[in-house]
Amino acid sequence: MTSSSDLQHQDLAVYQDSSIVSHRTLSPSYNHLNLILHHQSTKPTWLTVALVENCLLDTCYLNTVKTKNSGYTLNGNVKSEVILASFINDLNVYSKQFIKFLNLDISAPSSPNFKFLEFLKKDIDRWFETIQLEISKLSQKTSSKVTVFLENPELLLFITNCTINQLLEKLQILNQQCNLFIISNSDPSLLDHTEFENDISTIYSTYLAKLIHKSNLILSLCPLKTGRANDITGQLKINKGLISSIPNVIVKEREYLYLVNKDGNVKLFFR
């Protein structure tokens, strides 16, 4: 039986060119829709922070091999402008991680290239307009592409009067303006498709199935089937989406095992 201590710490690579967010996906001609699926016990905060870091600075705190300094800085030129909008968390969840790994204080509006929006305290009904406004503000400032991370937008299906198609339509409109990362829960209890059209799990699984059919990349985090382990937190699966990506931007499908420590440090291992 191997344990994580026997395995070699690996770097995160999503595409075949060993990149995490490929430069080619940031071209203005085509916008990507990426999905991050997770279970309740394997929340993807650490992965979101890593992806945001890679979008901004082209670096990744998970990787031991540091990429060449490409001259990106938080207050200057960045790889991509980032908006992180959460429907379930406030900035307290992310602030420590961002300070630790990016040296970025998201509670203070210090970085002109990053914006954190939370719709927990704010008016949730105006989420779409608020994000659109921020995208237009950021895209006016620089020529680089905006990447938007949306955390648990599926809650809108249950706490507002939004229907599946209305939500997907709004996401489509946003995706026409920027690259989208949608973070959604994929607990098995939520994906039990029933014959009742208006059943909560039917609504949820329909929403997720439709979203998967629009996606270019799927990153999923799930716990080990064997249960909890002290040296492994869960597994990260990287899969192609159902829409083929731009040629020569090839997703390298693979599985990692990962370990999150109480300090927030993360290690990846090949499965």
Partner: protein, 505 residues
């Protein structure tokens, strides 16, 4: 599990093709503009202005959507805008240091409060529940252990509030039940009957009376003699213990250190936690000044009024007052009569609204909810959504009657070892949000004792009686001088069969 080395595949840069149909390209890029150093504050959010009707076609299983959180028909909830939030943060002072019931988390240094049970505080990993977070207590079966936990959570708040009669430091909000339920809150544990008698004797002795005065002079002389003898004994013991320390294994020394550190933390925060006697009641019971009870209105179709009342109750309190919110027996049809209140949309809106309140007043509010899993099992997607919106989740799973009977049989002489059920952890505050896998199934057991809600690591009870019997049989057979191995001593089932057949014949 395979072991592979990292391979680096470098792709060649190529021209990017045109967009895929149906996926729009980016808008024309604006010319690069010099970045300003400062950023404007986020736009002020306006209130939803009107009540929204139910969505058509969603009435069968997810019937009639209620109003959007923040609205109650034409009545608007006062949702704080950004400026108000900043003002609230300024007003709400950090309670750490000033409140006797607040201490820093041992993991993240966040201010934490006690749930009333020191064992629950321990399994939450922070030595308490961080302020601004919620704890969902799920329970299987027909038992009601979760209500005990909610009661001691509220009692803990009242006890801390009464430490200084001149100033209020804690306020309780009870949702769904009224003051009569609050009258059953348990009182502080005052020791065993022997300890109470001793205390009573001491109190009597301290009173000024002629007999006490005469006795006290004689007792003083005796005490002086005793103290002298004790001091000599202590000196001897110290000398012996210093010699013994060298002999005792190093690990015992470490244990002593940990005990000392626990004592230190208790001495630093003496009023952080109390022990409660669930057979007693808190006297005097919680007054309306200490506890606001918010009932679920009859004929109500949504939780908007409840959310508004909670918000108002918090705003009525001074900014330095800690708020403990309790929602016992959530969605129990006994309390939540109207079927409209049990629809998914309304329930999720309510839980989301509670979370919004917690985060708006995150420097001084905590929340405990109890939910019966027989009514809403974990496989129910609505329960999953409730769990998604909770910061911490524990599940109380009482033992099957068979297992409980077995434990009673095994621990006949050690009743303290008999537990009431398993305690599973599904989520821990802060740690689960970071991405830690905190699920712990069947690793802990709980016991709802008179003086403590006890949580211990679960260990499978071993039936020692049978092995003793077998050994006895084996000894007796060897004593009788049988050369062949006794079948009964090897297989207990066969022995039973043997005896039954003997009786039959």
């Amino acid at each position: 599990m395979s072991f592979r080395k990292r391979g680096e595949i470098v792709g060649s840069p190529n021209v990017i093709p045109s967009a895929v149909p149906g996926r729009g390209g980016a808008p024309p890029a604006a010319p690069p503009v010099a970045l300003p150093n400062t950023r404007q504050p986020p736009a002020m959010q306006s209130m939803p202005s009107s009540f929204r009707p139910a969505v058509q076609g969603r009435s069968a299983v997810v019937p009639q959507r209620g109003s959007v959180p923040g609205t109650l028909g034409n009545l608007q909830l006062q949702r704080p805008n950004t400026q108000q939030q900043h003002q609230q943060r300024k007003d709400e002072q950090p309670l750490l240091g000033s409140h006797p019931g607040v201490r820093p988390s041992i993991l993240t240094s966040e201010p934490c409060i006690s749930t009333g049970s020191s064992d629950i505080d321990k399994i939450l990993a922070h030595q308490g529940l961080p302020i601004g977070t919620s704890l969902l207590i799920e329970e299987n079966g027909t038992t009601d252990f979760s209500s005990t936990l909610l009661k001691i959570y509220l009692s803990q708040g009242i006890v801390q509030n009464r430490l200084n009669p001149s100033s209020q430091n804690t306020h309780l909000i009870l949702v769904g039940l009224d003051q009569t339920w609050a009258k059953t809150l348990p009182g502080v544990y005052k020791g065993s009957s022997k300890e109470r008698k001793k205390l009573a004797v001491k109190e009597n002795e301290s009173k000024v009376s002629v007999s006490n005065l005469i006795d006290s002079q004689q007792q003083q002389q005796l005490q002086l003699q005793k103290e002298h003898i004790l001091a000599q004994k202590q000196k001897q013991q110290q000398q012996e213990s210093s010699n013994n320390d060298l002999k005792i294994a190093w690990r015992y020394g470490l244990q002593r250190k940990s005990e000392k550190s626990e004592d230190l933390s208790e001495s630093q925060y003496p009023n952080y936690n109390n022990q409660f006697d669930i057979t007693s009641t808190l006297i005097p019971s919680a007054s309306p000044k200490e506890l606001t009870s918010i009932s679920i209105p009859t004929r109500s179709k949504s939780y908007d009024l409840v959310l508004k009342q909670i918000e108002q109750a918090i705003q009525r309190q001074p900014p330095n007052v800690l708020i403990r919110i309790a929602v016992p027996l959530f969605l129990n049809p006994m309390i939540y009569h109207e079927s409209q209140l049990q629809t998914t949309t309304n329930v999720i809106q309510f839980i989301h609204g509670l979370k919004r309140i917690l985060k708006t007043h995150q420097s001084r509010t905590t929340l405990l909810i109890s939910l019966n899993l027989d009514l809403f099992p974990r496989s129910n997607p609505m329960t999953s959504l409730i769990e998604m919106l909770s910061d911490a989740i524990i599940e109380l799973r009482p033992f099957d009657p068979q297992l409980y009977n077995l434990m009673e049989k095994i621990y006949k002489n050690q009743p303290a070892k008999i537990k009431h059920g398993h305690l599973n952890i599904h989520k821990l505050p802060t740690l689960s949000d970071v991405g830690l896998m905190c699920v712990q199934d069947m690793e802990y057991s709980f016991k709802n004792g008179k003086k403590k809600f006890q949580v211990e690591e679960w260990s499978i009870p071993v039936e020692e009686e049978d092995t003793d019997n077998h050994n006895a049989n084996a000894n007796s057979s060897s004593a009788h001088g049988h050369d062949e191995p006794d079948v009964a001593s090897v297989n207990p089932m066969s022995s039973k069969r043997q005896t039954t057949t003997d009786i039959e014949f």
